[in-house]
């Protein structure tokens, strides 16, 4: 393993220390419990958006802390969910009186830790809601699995909900918006190489020189199918078609019920897309793939969307939700409405994403 690190155990901490030194105008970093929060927080009256998850997906989430996006991010160890005390401490730090939305990726660890954090926060009379992101169409059913993983749509939801919070939406409105973004966002990814977790020091999975792993998540977990290496156009077609052909996905998730003061089961189904729908097309690099290759994927994706009768009206091309040094990419398509477009276009000022300000 060759990496720009010192000791594997200090990987997350030292990286966050570097961020704190590089961006004192944007963010502050707190350790034990660890969280990253806006330099100017709380913002009085504003709903605070807090996310978090295992580290190794940079710039997500800490790189998205700042105006127009997150109020705080809770980084766990590499690929390991953060703990409830981190989430609780972050919520307390950034609560400006408008309540807190936790945006949570659907992994058993993340879900359980954020659930505990919500319970702890509620016990301390913090008004916390949480929304699950579960957009990975590579996971087919929700009955016999943990349900779909949360991947690329997370990034889009953080941007859109962050803008809504800035514009004065209340907590319930933002939770509803976040749920809507999730239901309309679909993703799938491919790995050309495995990643190497610093603490382990060797690649998580072995992939032959001519093999790729289709349908991977973002933790170096194996995907749904191993196949021979293909051209960028063929890979893009597999990913995009899996998204286009996805049928209305249904699942039961837990959401906090403010009246019942506890979690309740909520039944959710993805709406169908129709010809003429406006999409946001997001081509994401997994960390080790050069930008030039992502544009080759985008080129084909744009062609395929047009063929299917969809209009791409917004796009994002770059490495935003990564798996350490993995080579590969993911595609996320989000069906947009006017409100989402307006929020997407709103200003954002974070370490890794900035426009309009």
């Amino acid at each position: 393993m060759k990496k720009l690190i010192n000791h594997p155990e200090n990987f997350v901490r030292e990286s966050l220390e570097g961020m704190a030194k590089a961006h004192p105008d944007l963010l502050k970093v707190q350790f034990e419990p660890t969280f990253v929060y806006r330099a100017v927080a709380p913002v009085p009256g504003k709903v605070a958006i807090v996310s978090g998850g295992g580290s190794g997906h940079e710039p997500m989430h800490a790189g998205f802390v700042g105006l127009g996006m997150l109020d705080a991010a809770c980084p766990g160890e590499v690929f390991t969910s953060p703990t409830p005390d981190q989430m609780l401490a972050a919520a307390k730090q950034v609560d400006g009186g408008g309540g807190i939305l936790y945006i949570v990726k659907n992994y058993s660890g993340d879900v359980m830790n954020f659930e505990m954090a919500t319970e702890l926060a509620r016990a301390e009379d913090l008004r916390v809601l949480s929304i699950l992101i579960d957009d990975d169409v590579a996971v087919k059913d929700s009955l016999y699995t943990q349900g779909r993983r949360g991947v690329g749509t997370t990034v889009l939801a953080e941007k859109i909900c962050g803008a809504a919070a800035e514009q004065g939406y209340d907590l319930q409105q933002i939770a509803d918006l976040c749920r809507r973004v999730n239901l309309n966002g679909r993703s799938m990814g491919v790995a050309l190489t495995s990643c190497t977790v610093p603490a382990k020091g060797t690649p998580t999975f072995d992939l032959g020189a001519n093999e790729i792993e289709m349908g991977i998540g973002i933790h170096g977990e194996p995907g749904c199918e191993r196949m021979l290496v293909k051209s960028a156009d063929e890979i893009t077609e597999i990913l995009a078609m899996s998204i286009f052909q996805d049928v209305a996905y249904s699942r039961t998730v837990q959401e906090w019920d403010e009246n019942k003061r506890g979690f309740v089961d909520v039944q959710l189904t993805d709406p169908e897309w129709e010809k003429g729908d406006r999409l946001l097309a997001f081509v994401n690099g997994m960390g080790g793939t050069p930008l030039a290759e992502l544009y080759i994927v985008y080129r084909k994706l744009a062609e395929l969307c047009a063929q299917q009768g969809y209009q791409i009206v917004r796009n994002l091309v770059g490495s935003y939700i990564t798996s350490l040094d993995m080579q590969g990419c993911s595609i996320t398509l989000l069906k947009l409405d006017d409100e989402m477009i307006r929020l997407w276009d709103a200003p954002v000022k974070t370490a890794s994403w900035r426009w309009g300000i």
Partner: protein, 211 residues
């Protein structure tokens, strides 16, 4: 009677079992998860281990609660909240106790299991730690109800946990990360079920020696 010293000794024993099996648990997780179960558990139980000296003055319930808090705030991942819930509920079940009767032990284990079930929503056969924990608790309760002693009941519960752990090998995972693998999860032993087995084995060893 299970004393406070037994409980502290058990936690110590479990912590070293985890340390010794850190690589093994991580390797099991590499096959069907994300290669961190041993690392996660060890991070948490090293902290628990460091805190044991402070526990002498506390009652059993408070000790278990401290363990729970430490695990919850240091393990992360899926096993953090699950083991955290186990110890939290166990703690509530024995509130105020300085030593535990057979019935207290039944309540403790049953409450711990309920905590894990409620947090993780897995069912028996989903290829999770439940597959080791649930038969262990059932066996313990059964053996106690037959009038046997706690050490004996725990010994049999440990055997049940081991069988449950092994029973995870041929089945498909339906909860946790391994569930994404579908059929590819077959022929691998679940890491969480394995650490649960170590937990019961540690308790069994401590009670066998101490009583």
């Amino acid at each position: 009677m299970v004393t406070k010293e037994h409980i502290i000794h058990w936690l110590q024993q479990f912590a070293s079992a985890i340390a010794q099996n850190k690589e093994y648990l991580t390797q099991l997780d590499a096959a069907i998860g994300d290669a961190d179960h041993g690392i996660n558990m060890d991070r948490g139980f090293q902290k628990v281990s460091n805190q044991l000296p402070n526990f002498a003055a506390q009652d059993i319930s408070n000790i278990l609660k401290s363990v729970s808090m430490t695990l919850i705030s240091s393990v992360g991942g899926a096993s953090g909240p699950l083991y955290g819930s186990f110890f939290l509920r166990a703690s509530t079940a024995v509130a105020g106790k300085q030593e535990l009767s057979n019935e207290d032990m039944v309540s403790l284990l049953q409450a711990g299991l309920d905590g894990v079930l409620q947090r993780g929503k897995a069912q028996l056969g989903d290829k999770t730690m439940i597959d080791a924990l649930s038969p262990a608790v059932t066996t313990f309760t059964q053996v106690i109800s037959e009038g046997k002693s706690t050490p004996e009941a725990i010994q049999q519960a440990t055997v049940a946990a081991e069988q449950g752990m092994k029973a995870t090998i041929p089945i498909v995972a339906k909860k946790g990360r391994a569930s994404y693998l579908g059929d590819r999860s077959i022929n691998h032993q679940d890491p969480g079920a394995t650490s649960v087995y170590l937990m019961l084995q540690s308790l069994s060893e401590v009670l066998a020696i101490c009583s």
